[in-house]
């Protein structure tokens, strides 16, 4: 039963500011994923919550208590690292017993807790193995278990799946999510992988260069990115960006690009703030929001297929509109209706409803 709150947290290393004014709330029982490129400050944020790093300004709250001066060991947080940090000379059981013995718990309680974690993580047959005798995925479970046995009020995970191969990650991701829900423990999960972030988070915090770019549910982050950074960071293939100008023409709002001009429907105009007229913008369009056909239609843009890559039941097509202007399109093979090949001439259709607009200078979303 713990919520976490960061209030205007700053962290400086020497003269470099690594965290700038971080304010953040994680509700009780929530799984919050902090995602960003390396060096964005996500790990430092996690360390500020654990107490391993002291903020130079601002406060950290657990529930409504300031814990700035509580030592890491007294915060009752469980932490798992990317490197697992398992003791190589101890068996799985000993690795798990260790934090409890360090806390001088009674033997009965130790055995009970280890038993519970064993069942939870399905590690029964492996209890007496040494870490080197375990696979990567099993080691990861041991590391989680070690954080779990202490029954922490907060669970902090730093890229816990960074060392696992893709297939295993997908499996463990789901079981981690399920485990966290069953335990109902408030969790902060740090990763650079936006796929993991979308899949796991109740709430995603996107960070870049030491500050928070956007906080929201996976759906919010994907569908209404707050700025160009978030738009480009979340989603593979990444969002397509095109430079354009918003103009008023015959009473209609249009967006103009050297290669095309598009009338914007009422709903889109309504969403754009009033000051959005007559300005340079960056249009963003997700690869799955673009249609491709072989025949021209109203408002289609001609292009040439640069590369096409089949992927599962879909195909990812990179289309060259003109030199250096490329669009990536992701479309189901059934929906496409023809077999694309390199250098094929095609028509691209962009639905104005699906366009995102960003200020060309500040990168902030216009809506």
């Amino acid at each position: 039963m713990t919520s976490i709150r960061l209030e205007n947290v700053h962290v400086n290393f020497g003269k470099t500011e690594v965290l700038r004014d971080i304010s953040l709330e994680v509700a009780d029982g929530e799984l919050c994923v902090i995602v960003g490129p390396s060096g964005c400050g996500k790990t430092v944020t996690l360390r500020a919550i654990s107490g391993l790093t002291r903020p130079s300004r601002g406060h950290v709250y657990f529930d409504d208590n300031v814990i700035d001066h509580v030592a890491p060991g007294d915060r009752n947080v469980g932490m798992a690292f990317q490197t697992y940090a398992l003791y190589p000379n101890m068996t799985v059981r000993e690795n798990w017993e260790f934090p409890l013995r360090a806390a001088k718990r009674q033997e009965e309680l130790i055995q009970e807790r280890v038993g519970q974690v064993t069942g939870l993580l399905d590690m029964g047959p492996l209890l007496n193995r040494y870490p080197r005798e375990l696979s990567g995925g099993q080691q990861q479970r041991v590391a989680l278990g070690r954080a779990l046995v202490r029954r922490p009020q907060v669970f902090l995970l730093d890229e816990p799946m960074g060392n696992l191969d893709a297939k295993l990650r997908v499996e463990l991701r789901a079981s981690l999510r399920k485990l966290q829900m069953d335990l109902g423990v408030t969790t902060v999960y740090v990763t650079h992988d936006q796929v993991d972030a979308q899949a796991l988070g109740d709430k995603i915090v996107v960070m870049d260069v030491g500050s928070v770019q956007q906080v929201g549910t996976p759906e919010q982050i994907y569908e209404t990115p707050a700025n160009l950074f978030v738009a480009g960071f979340i989603g593979t293939p990444r969002m397509n960006f095109l430079d354009g100008t918003l103009k008023q023409e015959n009473g209609n709002l249009v967006v103009e690009h050297p290669l095309f001009k598009m009338d914007l429907p009422e709903e889109v105009v309504g969403r754009l703030a009033d000051n959005a007229r007559d300005r340079k913008v960056v249009m963003g369009v997700r690869p799955e929001s673009i249609g491709v056909s072989t025949h021209p239609g109203p408002q289609t843009i001609p292009g040439k297929i640069y590369v096409c890559e089949p992927q599962s039941n879909e195909v990812i097509i990179e289309i060259e509109l003109e030199e250096e202007v490329h669009l990536k399109v992701r479309v189901g093979r059934d929906a496409l209706g023809f077999e694309p090949y390199i250098d094929q001439l095609v028509q691209v259709q962009i639905d104005p409803d699906t366009l995102h607009f960003f200020d060309s200078v500040t990168g902030v979303r216009l809506s």
Partner: protein, 369 residues
């Protein structure tokens, strides 16, 4: 103008280790052929035999009708991009390119000209005089490719050339590599364990396991018509769902029987069966890809009930872990097409798109339909 033929290629590392088991394969001129499989499947050994680093125990390798399996690597006119890039720490990019050409019998001015051309083509002009340590991983990768193609070899070999790049860069470099190969029209053999990479790049995928070729085909053939359980499970993320059961004939037709549910097999699937009557009572495995499982929020006739175990949003889609009794299943669908949010713990109803479903023999793993 190069066609690669492997004929009954066999490799024993010792009397007990059969690394490559009678591999026969044709790579057509200009084709990009991906050898795909888990580690230890023999894909790298096969590649190394083509390069000439390993002599096959038996079998033949032809490059344009010339037998090459006993030739010295340098006499095969083959270039290779290594997983580690194999860039020399004591040489600059320019020196790497020059080194690659020194044995090609070109004049100094020709060499200089080729280096310029290649540097331009690969956009490496800015760092021609740097050493590998001073390059980013993406630049190192480009140098490794540039160094291979500057010789204009007949055949390109690539051994996991993208594995050192981070996820995002890997996807971008992949499409550039594909385009480059297509533009140059160089016959290429590419080794990877990453099935997404294989699907995105290949003209032809060769799926290998335990030293043997399991299936050869275009990415779409491999994805939609896997010949056995191994290929079906190896290709695709999230992987294909498998459910074991028994085939039972009933009045209404052939049924797939499982303790949790009974599924009447539709003509869409049965038409693909070779000889339906022999299948009665056979232990079988249903294979269905996550995107061919359809979900409904309310009960529907013939739909199978299940519970949402985990929900993972992914871009415009939801990936849903379902539990049908004890059986875990995954499905994947566009959020809008799905029309409702399958919250964790919720009860939903599933249908399988049977025209995209597969049946495998439980014992042999071979596909029945």
């Amino acid at each position: 103008m190069a066609r690669l033929v492997l004929e009954e290629l066999d490799l024993w590392y010792s009397t007990t280790v059969h690394a490559v088991d009678h591999v026969s394969l044709v790579v057509e001129d200009g084709e990009l052929c991906v050898l795909l499989g888990p580690s230890g499947c023999g894909k790298t050994s096969t590649l190394r035999m083509v390069a000439g680093f390993i002599i096959p125990t038996s079998g033949a390798i032809y490059l344009d009708d010339k037998r090459i399996e006993y030739l010295y690597p340098g006499d095969r006119n083959i270039a290779m991009v290594f997983q580690s890039y194999a860039l020399y720490p004591n040489k600059t990019v320019r020196q790497h390119l020059a080194f690659a050409l020194k044995k090609a019998g070109l004049s100094a001015s020709e060499i200089e000209q080729r280096i310029q051309q290649t540097a331009e083509f690969m956009h490496m002009e800015d760092y021609l005089d740097r050493r590998p340590q001073a390059l980013s991983s993406g630049q190192q990768q480009r140098v490794a490719v540039g160094r291979a193609l500057i010789r204009r070899p007949k055949l390109f070999l690539m051994d996991e050339p993208l594995s050192q790049l981070d996820a995002r860069l890997r996807v971008e470099t992949r499409s550039n590599l594909r385009r480059l190969q297509q533009d140059l029209g160089i016959t290429t053999v590419y080794v990877t364990h990453d099935q997404m990479e294989a699907q995105g790049l290949a003209d032809k995928i060769v799926v290998m396991d335990r030293g043997r070729i399991q299936q050869v085909g275009s990415p779409i053939e491999i994805y939609e018509d896997p010949v056995n359980l191994f290929v079906a499970g190896f290709i695709g993320t999230p992987p294909m769902n498998f459910i074991e059961g028994e085939l039972i004939p009933e009045d209404s037709g052939l049924c797939f029987n499982h303790p949790e549910f009974k599924l009447r097999l539709q003509p869409a699937l049965l038409d693909k069966l070779d000889d339906g009557h022999k299948l009665d009572g056979r232990q079988a495995v249903i294979g269905i890809r996550p995107e061919y499982v359809q979900l409904a929020p309310e009960e529907e006739p013939n739909a199978i009930p299940a519970e949402v175990y985990v929900l993972e949003p992914q871009s415009n889609e939801y990936v849903v872990d379902l539990h049908m009794g004890e059986i875990p299943l995954k499905m994947r669908q566009d959020k809008r097409e799905l029309g409702f949010k399958p919250e964790i713990g919720r009860r939903v109803w599933m249908r399988f798109r049977q025209n995209r479903m597969h049946l495998f023999d439980k014992n042999t793993g071979a596909r029945l339909a």
